[in-house]
Symmetry: C2
Subunit: 153 residues, 2 copies
């Protein structure tokens, strides 16, 4: 897995958050993960099959997801509730779908499962796979989130 696969996820993330939540996230440097742990307060996870077998996650800090969902729904969000979890599912689906369309153009065809949402203060996410795991941290005016993409070799 290289830039050919990771860049579409980066572009999809920026596109979806800009379009859906009027947020303009700034990507940090993507890095290959050596340790196992990404932390977040709420995460969306989706499995990927097809030309590559893997998984994608997006983990938000509580302040960041509250701002995202507030922009999305146009109303204040005070806690991580079912509406927030549904929104994280929708965002996870949209980022994965957008990235898959971009990869289709490069003749890499992926399918995706349905998203699973994890909530719990400071939980950690570990992708179990045979190939590299790439993390891309993003900054927003309301805090951080991180995308992780992992594929088997």
């Amino acid at each position: 897995m290289d830039a050919k696969i990771i860049n579409p996820f980066l572009e999809a993330t920026i596109n979806v958050l800009k379009t859906m939540a009027m947020l303009d996230p700034t990507p940090g440097k993507a890095f290959v993960k050596k340790d196992t742990v990404a932390h977040g307060d709420v995460s969306g996870i989706i499995g990927i099959t097809g030309d590559a077998q893997g998984s994608m996650s997006i983990s938000f800090s509580e302040s960041c997801i509250k701002a995202v969902v507030q922009n999305l729904l146009g109303m204040p969000v005070t806690e991580i509730n079912d509406e927030v979890r549904d929104a994280v599912g929708e965002i996870t689906n949209m980022i994965c779908g957008d990235a898959r369309r971009r990869l289709d153009a490069d003749n890499i065809h992926l399918q995706a499962g349905t998203p699973t949402i994890v909530s719990g203060k400071g939980h950690s996410i570990t992708h179990i796979n045979d190939g590299p795991r790439i993390a891309i941290p993003f900054d927003t005016s309301s805090g951080q989130f991180v995308i992780e993409v992992a594929f088997n070799k």
Copy 2:
């Protein structure tokens, strides 16, 4: 989604834990989930595509996963560390693979992504899908775990 899909996951779970960890888990009554929350201290999540699009999770209490991994590795387990997370990944893969083989025999063909592991005391898991979500709680002599399977209609 009905017993035709859920039973192979139930049978696969008992088979994998018996074979790998010499545990004989007792299944409780499977139920359709109406609320969104399953709790665990460590969970394995895997995405599913093919004839049905969905996700599967297995969530262990800390006492239960320690006993499982202790039996698996033949040495004491004192904390949820990388070895435990790898073992949860392996268990998730094996249950999903075993269930898929059973479903193949019924002419239902599924593919699976790679597993993602969540750790964090009392985190919650929510499957986002259009169809039913089925939970099967299991009891062991060392505590509980729960399997959840969710598919789109």
